[in-house]
Amino acid sequence: MKRKLLSALVTAAFALGAGASQAQISDGVIKIGVLNDMSGLYADLTGPGSVVAARLAVEDFGAAKKGMKVEIVSADHQNKPDVGSNIARTWYDVDKVDVIVDVPTSSVALAVSQVTRDKGKAFLVSGAAASDLTGKACSPNTIHWTYDTWMLANGTGSAIVKTGGDSWFFLTADYAFGHALERDTEAVVLKNGGKVVGKVRHPFPGSDFSSFLLQAQSSKAKIIGLANAGGDTINSIKQAAEFGIVKGGQNLAGLLVFLTDIKALGLPTAQGLIFTETFYWDMNDASREFTKRFSAQAPRNNYPTMIHAGVYSAVLHYLKAIEAGKTDDGTKVIAKMKEMPTDDPLFGKGTVRADGRKIHPAYLVEVKKPAESKGPWDLYKIRATIPADQAFRPMAEGGCPLVK
């Protein structure tokens, strides 16, 4: 019933949105659709913040000065593939949206990628993680921007196995993303000589993880790998502390953790966690400057997560490619984006590979102890940098049909 009501509301919201924008629509308008979780467990790490990031990119590109008309629309996909692909279809067919960006929740992203390919539009993934987006499900219309499960597994997994964490138990969110993250991490663990002693798949989204943590505890694995994200990771970590998992000698590996998760957990609970990110606000002057502007417009003055940074970087490069290629045809813009090197203040210089993988460095970070933190958002130490050429899965191993 709730769902019925919500979808009625969404439809109503669309009707309004469409009415308002139709009047201005012409072929001269570039319309960017930010599609993500605006209200659920991923809303803080993607959500309205991604709309802010897209807006900043349009501003920094100087669209107005260059005489380009750029419009941004947004919607909530509620982490449901059917809702997400319906919105994508409506956007492409009715609202003349040219590109969809962000889209956390891999199951939704895979669906939207298919719709985008069918319609010949462009899709810039920042929020979703499954490495399949540039592997067997790769598409000439999709670029996977910020991070992926292979990169997380490679960064966090191998660092942990090399420091002695050689037996693993996985706590996995039961959908495409969790499965991909578990699969990619397991491969890294095995490759580095570790073993996997067990795994359990929890319903998504979940709230009580105690039962699963107890199974992890009795598995005696040295490392409990959390192949989940957002609210699920927060509650897993919190409840693991309650059940004395770390005190009992086991360690947690948060395989996908975001700045906002750590902020929500608080340093006393989160300290010492190690994971991989591709962006941290306090890296350099450019990232701090961006953060200041982002935070001024973001809900609750939050700081940007790597997903927000990725949306900014992707939209900026997209607009540059349109300017250079003089077309907003989805397939052509994506091809142009792959052809041109990327360069932006947040990720530096980089490239987009033929399989749609954006390439940049990754960072192994550690959560600070409460005593080390100098401000409410001073949360990470950067332990190591994984160079761009090693951070992501080599193209040949992905099995992307585009590059065979």
Partner: protein, 294 residues
């Protein structure tokens, strides 16, 4: 020793965990059952009120320095008072109409309250620490039981039984039950029925808030915490029999255990098992396990 391939020790642990989750189901479904049984209102705001209880505890701690123990008292009072305002201003206008109107109103209120909180506090939630006295855990041999969870089971059993006792075994409870059967008659005996109904709603809401305070240290204090739970709790009430006090308590604990076991044997189904049971119960016994057909 192994039972169905699971070491019995692990199984005991899971049973206990199931009971802990069941105690939240019981507390919440109890409030719903009280409200439905005595007011005939399907209180869809219950999840939001549970969330408000947790937020109230958070504010008491962070704005006023009032700790967990006092929050157990104050948060239900504050949220219960809010509930009374809702009952007086809105719900009381709907008693004569179909159940559906109350359901729609409370559902709308829940969406509004959750939306406002999400807008203000985001979706990842706010941290709330376990009180110092309940930090740590006991090693029971078959599992590691956090002290706080032990406290949750104990407290919830006490609250549930006390509520049952008040409604089923005291004079006040007798008035309440009589008022649901025949309000004009009870009023003729000089009892202020509208006020009693208002207070009952306030009490049901306070129970939700109490559950919220107890949940705060376990889950994040987050705007969605109630929405995630309320559907399950409704299923519990339906299985137990709408309006049956003891039914909702027993079903709450029972389903917690069944859900816990599902998490061991087939974790993928753990979010659906309760609804499967609900469907079966509705087919076989439409009034619920402990309900009576009116």
């Amino acid at each position: 020793m192994e039972i169905f391939g699971i070491p019995s020790q692990a199984l005991f642990g899971q049973l206990l965990i199931g009971l802990i989750n069941g105690s939240f189901y019981a507390l919440l479904s109890l409030g719903l059952a009280v409200i439905f049984g005595l007011l005939n209102i399907i209180n869809f705001t219950h999840g939001a009120q549970y969330m408000l209880g947790a937020f109230c505890a958070y504010f008491l701690l962070n704005r006023f320095g009032i700790g967990y123990w006092w929050s157990l008292l104050f948060a239900p009072l504050v949220v219960g008072a809010l509930g009374i305002v809702i009952e007086r201003l809105m719900l009381s206008k709907l008693y004569k109409l179909d159940h559906l109107y109350g359901l729609l109103l409370t559902f709308g209120l829940a969406l509004v309250i959750q939306g406002l909180f999400r807008n203000e506090f985001g979706s990842s939630g706010l941290p709330y620490q376990i009180p110092d006295q309940l930090q740590g855990a006991q090693n029971l041999g078959f599992m590691f039981l956090p002290n706080y969870r032990a406290w949750v089971i104990a407290a919830s059993v006490v609250v549930c039984l006390a509520t049952w006792f008040i409604i089923e075994r005291t004079k006040l409870g007798a008035y309440l039950r009589a008022a649901t059967e025949n309000a004009p008659l009870v009023q003729a005996f000089g009892i202020n029925v509208p006020r009693m109904i208002t207070l009952t709603y306030g009490f049901g809401v306070a129970l939700a808030a109490l559950a919220g305070v107890m949940a705060a240290p376990i889950y994040q204090v987050s705007p969605n915490m109630g929405a995630d739970l309320i559907i399950v709790v409704f299923a519990v009430v339906v299985i137990g029999g709408m309006g049956s006090i003891m039914g909702s308590i027993l079903t709450g604990f029972g389903l917690g255990v069944i859900e816990g076991l599902t998490k061991v044997f087939y974790p993928e189904a753990s979010s659906t098992v309760i609804f499967i049971i609900m469907a079966i119960v509705l087919l076989l016994k439409p009034a619920g396990l402990f309900g009576t057909q009116k």
